[in-house]
């Protein structure tokens, strides 16, 4: 009996479980601490009594979420994420499909045209100069238009389309379908794993983007996405920058900072576990070199 248990669980396995378990704990602890701080009363936070579990439960810190500035940036960020992700997927599909056709004249040249910017860029200042010349400074479109194309994502998409059986497309051709129809009514639905993957990563990238606002938004701070407002709140020592954020007299305690932080994490943390099996599959297929 004892022998059979030892046979099933080998010492090596125990060590592996311990190592991974330890890493899991190291990842969870900071978040527990943060949640606990956001839900604890001021006195308990200051005296550090709320390490892992909230003490003196209160939702006071979360009233910061009622401020107009946080809400506007939240809604605006959702608009950015949805609009730019959908457009990005359309651009990816439109680019990847022609490139997946070996017989297309000029395909090699087009691939090179896409590859070069993946290896070399003009750098931040020329990029800024081009965009400011086009009027993207303090313009809402800067969050959506300039980053629509990604060579990496197009290549992932192309690899995925390549492994869809050609017979599906041929059957549609015989029925008289054009290339656009084939792409959007046959290939796109069959590419859902890679589309879900790219949607997730592109969407998360947009959700997390604060750099665009740092560089391109100077005056119209009402265009700040959530991350920029979060950054203001987290680094705010002076409340002048954030006038209108909350009613005067309130200070940004660690609790309010962590409340906004958690607010900004929740959407991602509740989405990605459900998409996990898609993106793992997408990366498994997309990483195949061809």
């Amino acid at each position: 009996m004892v022998k059979s248990i030892f046979k099933r669980i080998k010492p090596l396995e125990i060590i592996i479980y311990l190592i991974i378990g330890l890493l899991v704990v190291c990842t969870i602890l900071p978040f527990l601490n943060v949640i606990s701080i956001s839900l604890s009363s001021y006195e308990n936070v200051v005296s550090n009594k709320a390490m892992l579990f909230p003490k003196g439960w209160t939702f006071d810190a979360y009233t910061v979420l009622m401020s107009k500035k946080v809400w506007i940036s939240f809604v605006w960020t959702i608009v950015i994420v949805i609009a730019s992700s959908v457009l990005h997927i359309i651009v990816c599909l439109l680019t990847a499909y022609p490139l997946s056709k070996n017989q297309l004249p000029g395909r090699k040249f087009l691939l090179l045209f896409i590859l070069i910017p993946m290896l070399f860029s003009g750098g931040l200042v020329p990029y800024y100069k081009v965009l400011s010349g086009l009027g993207f400074v303090d313009n809402w479109m800067v969050f959506i238009v300039p980053g629509l194309f990604s060579g990496y994502n197009v290549i992932l998409m192309k690899n995925f389309i390549n492994q869809i059986p050609a017979s599906m497309e041929e059957a549609a051709r015989i029925d008289g379908a054009g290339y656009f129809k084939i792409l959007f009514s046959i290939l796109a639905p069959s590419s859902m794993p890679i589309i879900a993957t790219l949607l997730l990563f592109y969407g998360v990238g947009k959700w997390n983007d604060w750099f665009t606002a740092l560089i391109f938004i100077n005056q119209k701070t009402y265009l700040y996405p959530l991350q920029s407002v979060l950054n203001e709140i987290l680094t705010a020592g002076n409340l002048d920058n954030i006038s209108g954020l909350i009613t005067s007299g309130k200070v940004f305690t660690d609790s309010t900072k962590m409340a906004v932080t958690i607010f900004s994490i929740i959407p991602i943390a509740s989405v990605y576990p459900f998409l996990q099996k898609y993106f793992v599959q997408g990366i498994f297929v997309g990483s195949v070199k061809d």
Binding site: L12, E13, I16, Y17, I19, I20, L23, V24, C26, T27, I28, P30, N33, I37, N48, M51, V91, T95, Y97, P98, L104, L110, I114, P117, L119, F120, S121, G122, G123, L124, V125, P126, Y127, Y128, V130, L131, G133, L134, P146, L148, F149, Y179, F180, L183, V204, N208, W210, F211, I215, Q227, L230, L234, I268, A269, P273, Q276, I283, F284, S287, K289
Partner: protein
């Protein structure tokens, strides 16, 4: 002969006509690339000009001498310390961070319990999806001198550690927090490679009486060697990226480590808008990155077909 070329031209035109809707599809990509990738590439001439905002990029006079801003850059000891810091941080990340996801994937491969595997992966992926703005906020709450972690140390009778407020502690903190953020997610690519291994190899090894370690050593590792080398190439070509997001958000003083990107951002957008000098610095970075990726890819191809292209 003239007739021949004409006929050839006609067949090409016919072909293009046949695929015209495919070409139509490529228009958005070509426009986006031309405007947002290729136009900035031509914009590097700013580094060779005395940029005058009123005259614009094309109207501004050429710098005299043409390499004025490059000479200014390379003649400045600040540049060399920035370059050194950038390379040093990237190097430490590579040395300590690169093996972690490989090891993690190998460990995962030995785990039979699917529930534990899925749960722990979900947890370890999480930090990858969060921005450095968020993570820096969290880390500052925990690791600043009055943060939870130092209070814990105090309660245990240990002296607090200035993780974020001393330059010497900041560097290991950068490296470790970067590993912490990315390790789980980076292991996916190796797990993908492992899942592609033909099971009959392991069965054959079983028959030969191979243990877990020898299977790992002689089957798993060689099978994922290509994935490892591709990732190594990608990371090596990133050597001049010290991680702007992380340092900008974590450095409470803004002075501990200047990497190329933070320095460039400062001279272009914070201190005096020296666009020409910043462009020269950006061009230096792009060229070095380009050369490194070409060289490493060539080496990888020589070692076996492990290059990216």
């Amino acid at each position: 002969m003239l007739k021949g070329t004409k006929a050839k031209n006609i067949t090409i035109l016919k072909k293009i006509n046949k695929y015209r809707s495919l070409y139509l599809m490529l228009i958005p990509a070509i426009l986006l690339l031309a405007i947002f990738s290729y136009a900035p590439m031509f914009g590097v001439i700013i580094g060779f000009k005395d940029l005058n905002p009123r005259l614009g990029v094309f109207g501004s006079p050429w710098a005299d001498p043409a390499l004025k801003y490059f000479m200014q850059l390379f003649g400045d000891s600040k540049f060399w310390s920035v370059l050194w810091d950038t390379v040093w941080i990237s190097f430490l990340r590579l040395i300590f961070g690169f093996p972690v996801p490989v090891i993690l994937a190998l460990l995962y491969n030995e785990i039979r319990n699917q529930k534990f595997k899925r749960f722990s992966q979900t947890v370890l992926y999480l930090p990858y999806f969060l921005s450095w703005v968020v993570l820096a906020g969290i880390f500052k709450t925990i690791f600043l001198n009055e943060g939870s972690f130092n209070i814990l140390l105090k309660n245990l009778g240990l002296s607090p550690v200035p993780f974020l407020t001393s330059r010497s502690h900041f560097l290991p903190f950068l490296v470790i927090s970067d590993i912490w953020k990315n390790m789980g997610f980076s292991s996916i690519i190796y797990l993908a490679a492992i899942s592609g291994i033909d099971n009959s190899l392991y069965e054959a090894a079983d028959i030969d009486g191979a243990g877990r370690f020898s299977k790992m050593r002689y089957i798993t590792l060689p099978s994922i060697a290509v994935a490892i080398s591709i990732n190594l190439i990608l990371q090596t070509s990133n050597i001049l990226n010290g991680g702007f997001d992380q340092i900008y958000n974590l450095d409470t003083t803004g002075t501990f480590y200047d990497i190329i990107d933070t320095y460039l951002y400062r001279i272009a957008f914070v201190e005096g808008a020296n666009y020409s000098l910043a462009t020269a610095l950006g061009l230096f970075k792009s060229v070095v990155g380009f050369v490194i990726i070409i060289i490493t890819n060539k080496i990888a191809n020589k070692l076996g077909d492990a290059g990216i292209w």
